[in-house]
Symmetry: C2
């Protein structure tokens, strides 16, 4: 029950699986462990045992636990952001752009064979938003911030603005929040409304809905700004909160 002394379970297959190295196994298991249990709760012994490697391998390959964690974070996040592509291309329609932006977050058409890995990585990042580690702040400034600026800039453009203002920022956060929630609240969603995620083409349908939501919110924001502009032009008051 306690001992499973098989460090390399899969033998040399034909060609499909090139027998993942100890480093890769360690990194993969660490991703899963960190996502499920968090940084502190996931012990190095646990991770190494699941990966079938010795405890000293962490020091050997990554220096220490935080180095392993940093690698676990940095790798997939750049992958997702790269998957965005040029979603802020002015040639694209708003729906096309939002679809390009939302699809990688939901994990649609992910490169991995196992879709749960994508979800685990998203959970890791969402956990970091609650409890930012020093490693994460660095990742944010290098990768997430440019992506967010591209999003808010695109939203501003579709609202007829040259630069995003606070209302655009709020709209951007609302859109991102809707997408993130489908990685974050998955367990609760299965508990409260099992049908949404168990349908055959569940993720595609969720993506369709979210794109529709985004369009509705953009139209709402455009309309609100027009009403605000008319109101301020009529009364001369530069107030910023008309009804809804």
């Amino acid at each position: 029950m306690t001992d499973l002394p098989l460090p390399i379970p899969r033998s040399a297959d034909a060609d499909a699986s090139p027998a993942p190295s100890a480093r890769d196994r360690l990194l993969r298991q660490a991703t899963a462990m960190f996502a499920v249990k968090g940084f502190t709760a996931a012990s190095t012994r646990e991770i190494c045992e699941a990966a079938g490697v010795n405890i000293a391998s962490i020091r050997y390959y990554f220096g220490d636990k935080e180095g392993l964690y940093r690698e676990t974070l940095l790798g997939p996040i750049t992958e997702v952001i790269h998957a965005f592509g040029r979603f802020d291309d002015p040639e694209l329609s708003f729906e096309e752009a939002m679809r390009m932006f939302l699809a990688p977050i939901l994990g649609v058409a992910s490169g991995h064979k196992d879709p749960s890995v994508q979800v685990q990585v998203m959970k890791l990042h969402l956990r970091e938003m609650l409890e930012p580690s020093p490693a994460f702040r660095q990742v944010v400034e290098q990768t997430i911030l440019p992506a967010y600026q591209a999003l808010s800039g695109m939203l501003a453009r579709h609202c007829g603005l040259r630069r995003p203002d606070d209302d655009i920022h709020q709209l951007a956060f609302a859109l991102v929040a809707m997408a993130n929630d489908y990685c974050q609240s998955r367990e609760m969603m299965k508990l409260l409304a099992p049908g949404v995620l168990d349908r055959p083409r569940a993720l595609e349908q969720v993506l369709d809905r979210l794109v529709g939501y985004a369009h509705a919110l953009l139209d709402h924001e455009v309309g609100r700004r027009q009403r605000t502009a008319i109101a301020t032009a009529a009364s001369g008051r530069p107030e910023s909160t008309p009804p809804s």
Copy 2:
């Protein structure tokens, strides 16, 4: 620097502050610690030192660390859900209902003097959605599930349905996600768009926008359903995914 041997710092005031007991101090500091560092990362010594109580107090008042954690979770969540009031009252308009529902989540008009406590507690619950503890699942079924059923039921009613279907559930999750995000991504929001949360009436304005978003999404969903109904009636295909 190390020793602060004053277990009861504030002397007997007039009447405003009844000198919080050791149990209350412990509970308050535990809430802050758990919210900031998580369950495992927050050590019992740390919590007790911050609260100015002995380590054995945890065993004395709550049995063990998990008992303290359970109390930390259960208390404020029932408080928030009770603050919803009867938001699903059929007499209310949709905007009135959503305002009653969203305000407690954002922490508007909270009973606490310190608004950061409310945010901390929300972070605790969001963390639990990523890593549900046994204590949390019990809390979900007892308190969150009824509140969610009230929300999805109200949404279904405003869409002309007797019971919520999968599309209503997805709409409900999107609305909750938008509100949760303002507790969850606060740090990142301050980093990416500082103006949104630093305005004088920031929370009230955010609430106004979210209520507007909710209305826009509801209208979008109603329109989508009408278009779907017309399309299926015309072609006879019971498909469920028309464009946006």
